[in-house]
Symmetry: D2
Subunit: 439 residues, 4 copies
Amino acid sequence: MATKQGLKIAVIGGGSSYTPELVEGFILHYNELPVRELWLVDIDSGLHKLNIVGNLAKRMVEKSGLPIEVHLTTDRRQAIAGADFVSTQMRVGMLAARGRDESIPLKYGVIGQETTGPGGMMKALRTIPVLLDVCKDIEELAPDAWLLNFTNPAGMVTEAIIKYSNVKSIGLCNAPIGLIKQASAKYQVAPDRVYAEFVGLNHLHWITRIDVEGEDKLDEMLADTAGYSAKNVPACEWNPEFLQSLRALPSYYLKYFYMTDEMLKEQLDSHNKGINRAEVVKRVEEELFELYSDVDLQDKPKQLEQRGGAFYSEAAVNLMRSLYNGTNDIQTLNVANNGILDFLPDNASIEVNCVVTKNGPLPLPLTKIPPSAVGLIHAVKTYEQLAIDAAVTGDRGLAIQAMAHHPLVPSVGIAIKMLDEMLEANKEYLPRFFTPESV
Amino acid sequence: MATKQGLKIAVIGGGSSYTPELVEGFILHYNELPVRELWLVDIDSGLHKLNIVGNLAKRMVEKSGLPIEVHLTTDRRQAIAGADFVSTQMRVGMLAARGRDESIPLKYGVIGQETTGPGGMMKALRTIPVLLDVCKDIEELAPDAWLLNFTNPAGMVTEAIIKYSNVKSIGLCNAPIGLIKQASAKYQVAPDRVYAEFVGLNHLHWITRIDVEGEDKLDEMLADTAGYSAKNVPACEWNPEFLQSLRALPSYYLKYFYMTDEMLKEQLDSHNKGINRAEVVKRVEEELFELYSDVDLQDKPKQLEQRGGAFYSEAAVNLMRSLYNGTNDIQTLNVANNGILDFLPDNASIEVNCVVTKNGPLPLPLTKIPPSAVGLIHAVKTYEQLAIDAAVTGDRGLAIQAMAHHPLVPSVGIAIKMLDEMLEANKEYLPRFFTPESV
Amino acid sequence: MATKQGLKIAVIGGGSSYTPELVEGFILHYNELPVRELWLVDIDSGLHKLNIVGNLAKRMVEKSGLPIEVHLTTDRRQAIAGADFVSTQMRVGMLAARGRDESIPLKYGVIGQETTGPGGMMKALRTIPVLLDVCKDIEELAPDAWLLNFTNPAGMVTEAIIKYSNVKSIGLCNAPIGLIKQASAKYQVAPDRVYAEFVGLNHLHWITRIDVEGEDKLDEMLADTAGYSAKNVPACEWNPEFLQSLRALPSYYLKYFYMTDEMLKEQLDSHNKGINRAEVVKRVEEELFELYSDVDLQDKPKQLEQRGGAFYSEAAVNLMRSLYNGTNDIQTLNVANNGILDFLPDNASIEVNCVVTKNGPLPLPLTKIPPSAVGLIHAVKTYEQLAIDAAVTGDRGLAIQAMAHHPLVPSVGIAIKMLDEMLEANKEYLPRFFTPESV
Amino acid sequence: MATKQGLKIAVIGGGSSYTPELVEGFILHYNELPVRELWLVDIDSGLHKLNIVGNLAKRMVEKSGLPIEVHLTTDRRQAIAGADFVSTQMRVGMLAARGRDESIPLKYGVIGQETTGPGGMMKALRTIPVLLDVCKDIEELAPDAWLLNFTNPAGMVTEAIIKYSNVKSIGLCNAPIGLIKQASAKYQVAPDRVYAEFVGLNHLHWITRIDVEGEDKLDEMLADTAGYSAKNVPACEWNPEFLQSLRALPSYYLKYFYMTDEMLKEQLDSHNKGINRAEVVKRVEEELFELYSDVDLQDKPKQLEQRGGAFYSEAAVNLMRSLYNGTNDIQTLNVANNGILDFLPDNASIEVNCVVTKNGPLPLPLTKIPPSAVGLIHAVKTYEQLAIDAAVTGDRGLAIQAMAHHPLVPSVGIAIKMLDEMLEANKEYLPRFFTPESV
């Protein structure tokens, strides 16, 4: 990278409503991350949105006065060729598929969620082959590029890339940075004075240490979990006696596992009232694109922060800056395990604190692993491994095994029935499962 | 052992209805296992049964003409002193406690089972401290003795002994020998021409290879699972597509995990009809003891084979013979993991094929581990580790963690409510949970 | 194997003077190991010896009256096609190369030995490519065959096959069976009443337990090491205080490492007197072949037992019988580590007790590992890994690393000079090191 | 630490000639490391030197105007009580013992060196018990203190503390920082623009990556090793072909292993010329103390930099600053392995890059491990483990095993003779080896 004049960045899924945040990040941090070319790329059916958000990006850059070129394209290969960083933020099947992921399981009395459970599995089956295609382009056209993957289920996608490609890839989630921000707000200190240790997988982590200016605040945080949640997860309350004996703060996604009954009830209530998280998001997005279309708008609109994926772009820009400058700072990332959790294979993806060196992230050894968490981590990882291999092969037997072994799925019988319905509903996006041979 | 004239054997829980089988085994195999003294020991409240079954034992020995002394006693220390083998087959709280283990969970919509789930956990909490007391006696009075543990949950009891005592201990179950017998019958060959490889934990194993005279019959056995069951597990049918893609034969206990909904329905149906497995067993036992009381009876009555625990004594006598003679034959036992399942700690108990040497069993490396099984094994082991430590310490927080992390328990909320009711119902047998300090 | 009428066996290097022992074994154990075809195969330059020893083999079989066909051939592929077992006993470069392996290092003040040190390394460089060629034939023509490898350095050859072929291979040495025989003679018991536990690598093992009829005799054996040696290793005496604190009996090959100075002195003395082990062996062989040529000879001549490689054939026939019948007995073999020595990679070859099942040997976990031995095992394994990769690639850099890191080589400077001379002396047998590119 | 007004620091062996460097460091970095009390402690026989160097320290502080109290004492417990940091820099037996460590092995044709080989072993036997006594005081009087250990052999001392005490301890060496300085000078960049990865043990490491401003300069450094040496290691030249195929830069201490013959020759030449490194150091020290005695001296004299232990104090102050402030920067330290080198036990000390957090150093995973180095690392670690246990127990058998298994010791026979002479020569400092029972 050193010899070029500035960096080339390709954003796959560049028509996303999140893009203005990313652009704002590039503008703010231009000094440490000199972007020369920003390529926003999307598929044909996303061209309309790409143009709207891309033109906003151009107006933002113009206002900044910085020498960043913004390119809009549907030619993925052109965008990737020679890139220094590729980021992905895609949604195969769009919000309609998400709606099905969330609603079909409910019919079977099972949690319907976009990144875990049967819904997350379907998202993985649809998404992993597409991402591996992107990786083939990167291997060919930008073999030294870093792939920053925000596409969910980010942990599984990252593991698929580790196993089935040679691309240097890192998975990213906004949950860890969100926890840091929350503690920073609570204790009125700068975020860099908060150090939290994360153990587990993407959307399945436990926080075992929260140091604020060097003092351990875990017990205080366990006693006050009200603020630690996310837009897309209902707000059931943790049992204090449970948290105290767990001695770790679970990710809010763990409510699906620890409070399955209440979470399911809430999902069914919402569903019966006709509320549909995918629909809500769809409407928010439509409103955002209406704003973005305003040719006088030259900044990221505030409303974007309500969108749910706060800090995603901050996480992305932070990571690119650290990789580019070799800052050796600590970030929480999804990377290959390589012995950090000694009960998982080296090529399993985990979510863990890493030192970000010029040569990539080095995961830090864990100082505490909650004994209670180990089995659940391994049970979910087993499902993930099976589902990844199912996605790559289109093997129905592997898909049955994955579904039947997900801890949220109550029996083999339900697993198979639900799988059949969900495969059928996703037929369009799962060619590997519906080739003549496999039927 | 070599210098003594014959062996001393102590049977803790000697008043059990199984004892005649054991005595029959000692008589049949006297040549390879020369028993000099057989000590049947029980607690005061079991004295009546001990006398009935003990006198039958004496009549059986007398008929055989062998120089075996049979001693009946409630003095455990006298029985253990200088023993070569100690075997345990006890039921702390007796069948009444089992009845509660099986029925209370049903109120919460949870599987009620004597060795797994909330019921198995209660059994572990009651039993482990008693077994560790037996171990203290063995450490003091018979430090070279082998402890053969049949007391359920046998895997957890064995692990507790590994972790908290120095006694040389082996856990035993009749399920593996049962599978061998079934294949032997199906293929009309001698049992020693069947070789099966077991992977997993006690009551949670998968069979990955069934060689009959050197030919792999796994696929055939997967296609015909009808015969592979047990008296105490209802006979739901396996889904053939699931078995085929699993590529391993699951223990019938795994139906509680793989067919939770059907198994629960069956349990609730039985319960609503007033059927109660503990009651059924109680009645069978009463009938057996009536038979045993017949002073003309000099043999093990055939009815004992209906009792459900078939092959237990065969397993015990086989193991003692192999240890005594150093036969280096292969048996399926519960022993310390020591790296066999590389994702579990060395001191976890596992159920695995072992070569039985004069110096104890050496576990054999596994040739296949079903990828689907790994997560569930680890999830149940995590529960077991937490429950063992709860049993030893009486720590309520550990008990909450154990219950909440059992894969059959649907949520933290239910876990805590159910635990509270079950602890209270077992108060008499759980002094460590009800000391003044811990309340 | 089950469907055929008897077994096909191919012996690569069938013109060896050892062959009559092997033939005697097949005759003695025909009932348990029904050999239908025995193919003795050798290279063109060995045809003369092949014919002599092959005709003796035919006479021996004829005398036995058994329906074994003996084939003599230089067509390796024909011999291997459809074989059930392939055994190898070859010497690339013959005794002349061995002479150079043993003498060149002495010029540099370094131990000259045929299986370890610089000499063993040269033997590995010459032999491994040839064995891997044999493996390619087996992969193609007899993919289900077991390869029993006696070719030294047997541990390194076995590891090369594990890493660079798919052939099912087992390495064999006569040292373990020799130790058993020695203890059996000393204590006047049958060999199967002796159980010894071996830890380490081929020609680099320690014995940590010697049970004679179940009683541990290690201390007695440590106090009386006189009998434990071999024809090809000079008889320096162990220091008793050292053995006692080591708490394990080292292989006699370990004298090269533990008594380097004395062993070197003895080698130099012999060398200066004109004594040359390779020459001695050559003369013994010539005498043997003279005997074999006697057309009246119909039995293995007694003189063969003086040859040095006693028990090799016994070891081979034992192993074939156990594999064929699935006897599950315990033998000491060279197999893939797979976690037995947890500090070595899974694909390292180790010498370890195994249960020999129908599906191959399963290594037994070690009950004791001498703490002192660990570093030396790893140092020699590191050399072996480097030398194997050098043999396969012909990479001079790897050869330098291997030589320089062998514990018997005193410095990098000597390593490189000695390597240069030895490579040159072996030029004819090392085409990979002398291609135009690599010069 | 947060609640106190400034830090208390205890320097065990405070009378060392290095102390002025440490004091200079505290003065320069007072802002980030506010030292309130500096306790220099020494034994009675070192009181004269302690007073000289302590009074210089007082004058240096006075000149700085900072509110640091300097205390001189022989009461170790008073110095340690309540300390935040304890550092040790001691030499049990003083330079006379070092002289014997270096000269006795030469009689046996073995390298005589103060930190490795027989000499280093003797130093370990003398030093470890004393350090463990210091640790007992820290456990009692300053349980939260960090122990920074500079006392050689620093790796073995650190491992002894890990195994036999509960003190939070870190071992430090000046070699890593020296390499950074050398690269920084060579490439004319600030030291923090150089990133080097170290693999191995104290005084036995390999450098596998040297990034200068993000560019890998390893190959250049391998080609130009002239500058990379130390005062106490003779300057034999590396073989370039060896370094190139090793693909790592070895520590200059590795010359004792890789160029044993040349290094030994050089040692014998010096010895025969009457040159004695211990004597040279002794004279340098006398000159330094003469300078220190000058009551007008208020600064660290330049001559100290010639002393050989350059950067020791810089390393110490850097580490204290990072621990105190939780800077999360990367330093090369001796810490518990905990899985970083997966072939060594978790409690082995290794020398590795660590992120220094407020809660202590977290070792970073290694990105490359030179395959050639693995065996030698393990061989030396095996010696270290045996020698540590010998030091703690005074067990002669363990000492024989340690000596005989050191890669620099040529045979068991020499090991025992040399050990006997060296134990006798160190009798005064090895009470555990000369109690009535052990004689």
